[in-house]
Symmetry: C4
Subunit: 239 residues, 4 copies
């Protein structure tokens, strides 16, 4: 399969970004062993790039990433195509097919997010950082197991029209989406951070809610005002 | 805008210190992604230096720091002035305007301090290290959201006349102040450390308070006796 | 004692693997000081390789590993034989004698697994990652102290015919087994990971169980479908 | 003050060991900022070596360590003597004066040990590693504040005739002792490790005690059988 020079260039950039972003999962302690995965959509093509299955984080280079079409099939003959893609590829592909504005998907088994998921309980919005980033609570998605489209469908149905870029799939763990792979990684980092802070807070007594009006103002401002560029998600403008 | 050689020299030193001190926030796990910020007043001038908004911690050099006046306006034409300063700049500026003896301000979303903040609950003084460093409990400040002077005012009103150099802003997180940027960073490190230890202690049963007279003696001694210089805060004399 | 060139070659490879795999225990925070140990069976010989007793993790080279026969006796004259083997050598030897399909054994005192062990309580299966990796709950083994075969016997009796590759020895800590040393290390990493996540989950309320039928499907699929090779355990195929 | 060549040699060795051992406090997360201190007795002389007050861990070289007599006075003119010794020097000196068999003392504010100390509660012996290392529960010492001999006296009175090399000083934190500085550092690492594991265990329900007879056998064996040398404490023989 041959692509135009523009698409080849875009693929190369997404490969490089996706490979490098896996290091952020390690840096923030969101993954162990070979668990977790990042993918990124190739702009201008019906393709995305994802991590191979079962390869150590120390050994992830751009050319090891796997190029897939939007049905989750590996593009034959492309670099890395001798390996199997992440076992969660079907879920990523489902998201890309059904959420055209989404350019990145991340999945981890980060500890605190998994803990809320094991109780099938949403994370309440009691910190301004959570209002900024997610605009309210982090929702729980349905229990779904690997083998068909049910994980992807659960992600899409839960997050469509929702402010949150993160969903806690029941008894499984967090999936996050974003404008691009970096934005989805940021959401994965932030969901674990707030999952942990809110968990710790609730261990010692009742939480004080933030008034809805304040949550709305924080989310609106964060999406529209902060950061180094007008596109806040790309610029990762939190401070 | 041109400054005297003495002020230019002072600015250069504060830029270097503030840039370097951000690494301490990373080292002690107080921040994730681009969150958190350190600022330092320029001695002998109505200026302070602060982190830019949304820039990764790996990439913070002295010339990336942003020079502001005490109203929080970026000094036009100075190095870094093409970027936006931290979104918390207005709060830092308010502190510098209203607390002339304060030379450094730090803000983080460190986990355990945020947890107390999410319950709007002060941290009781049950460890001698806390009596040494903060002279009693860590107070909670009002709920205030970004967009006007309310965060800065909340910090100043809570900490004026208080022994503590740290305040837990309700549903938000810790702000710390100090004689200079390094002292404020030390307070940010110590507030998370005691927030965590006291949290863990209370998980398994009632805490034993320290008699007020002992708290007073510890705080007095720590401020006046310890360390390598007579100025205990600059010397960071804890042991 | 002299071995055939093939066996010498196999010994050299296992020495190298076992030495290197100890770094994974450090990386994932499963051990402190000189605690913990990894061993690996030498394919094609009645021998295994294990860590020496009381040597710092920074200083573990392949030639420091100790070669033992299946009764746990050090092979005289082999490299490292001037040192004592790990104090848990008898337990490892017992496993190799009684579980011929097992090629690796790991023991740690990792925090969360030890916590379940101190309550003599199995870890319930409430996360899909746990169903994948262990096929159900992590069982508790008997209370047994060092000095005879009782630890080894407890491991073998608990894990024989069990899906789990990990056992929590009562008031002691986790032992894991695997197809080879790497697989047993992976099980040690994963048992701590799920011990922590399930602990954290239960701190704030009741857990939602996974239906048995789903546990069975996940375990079956993970053992037979995933990964880069048909031998899923060797390939460490989790994602 | 001049010493014999043998004593000068011993001083140089203890300086080097004590400086290097501080890195273990950092490695295991037992200290923040400049907190914590290690000291070591000089064999064959009424002297010990201790960390200076308020100096960052990154910058601790052998020549920065401070030489003191057994009253805690700095030896005039010795390297490092321009600095103040650790603020806990008097407590270390008291231990060396009253426990002649003790060659090392360590103090930290490690999180979980401080948590038990803030409740003035001993750590029960429910893990075999704790029976091995400490021979039973970790005791609590009296509430004592800096400024006279009361901390040193509290340590000595609590640990004299006790199997434990660690004491939790009430509302303060752990002090550990050992045959030499390395052995005391090992005790500081192990006390935090068991403080954490036992804390986590008790969060979710009642602990299962270890029979006293088994505790005794484990402690006896560990002191007399394990390790690479007959002197188990020097050899740090845990596994």
């Amino acid at each position: 399969m041959a692509f135009s020079p523009e698409v080849e260039q875009a693929i190369a950039e997404v490969r490089r970004d996706v490979a490098a972003l896996h290091a952020e999962l390690v840096r923030y302690g969101l993954v162990v062993w070979t668990g977790g995965n990042v993918s990124g959509r190739v702009p201008g093509a019906d393709l995305f790039v994802i991590k191979p299955s079962g390869v150590p984080y120390d050994a992830l280079a751009a050319e090891d990433m796997i190029l897939c079409d939007l049905d989750g099939n590996v593009v034959a003959g492309s670099p890395g195509s001798h390996r199997s893609p992440s076992s969660d590829t079907a879920a990523h592909a489902y998201v890309y097919r059904h959420m055209p504005h989404i350019g990145g998907v991340v999945h981890t088994h980060s500890t605190y997010a998994c803990a809320w998921a094991a109780r099938n309980e949403e994370i309440p919005c009691v910190l301004t950082a959570m209002a900024d980033e997610f605009g309210g609570p982090i929702p729980v998605g349905p229990f779904a197991i690997i083998g068909d489209d049910s994980i992807g469908r659960g992600i899409v149905e839960t997050l469509s029209g929702h402010r949150s870029r993160a969903v806690l799939m029941a008894n499984h763990g967090p999936f996050t989406i974003g404008k691009d792979a970096r934005d989805a990684v940021k959401a994965a980092v932030m969901v674990e951070d707030v999952a942990r802070s809110v968990h710790v807070a609730r261990e010692l007594g009742p939480l004080v809610p933030i008034p809805q009006e304040a949550v709305d103002r924080l989310f609106d401002r964060y999406q529209n005002v902060y950061g180094q560029s007008t596109d806040t998600r790309l610029a990762s403008p939190t401070e």
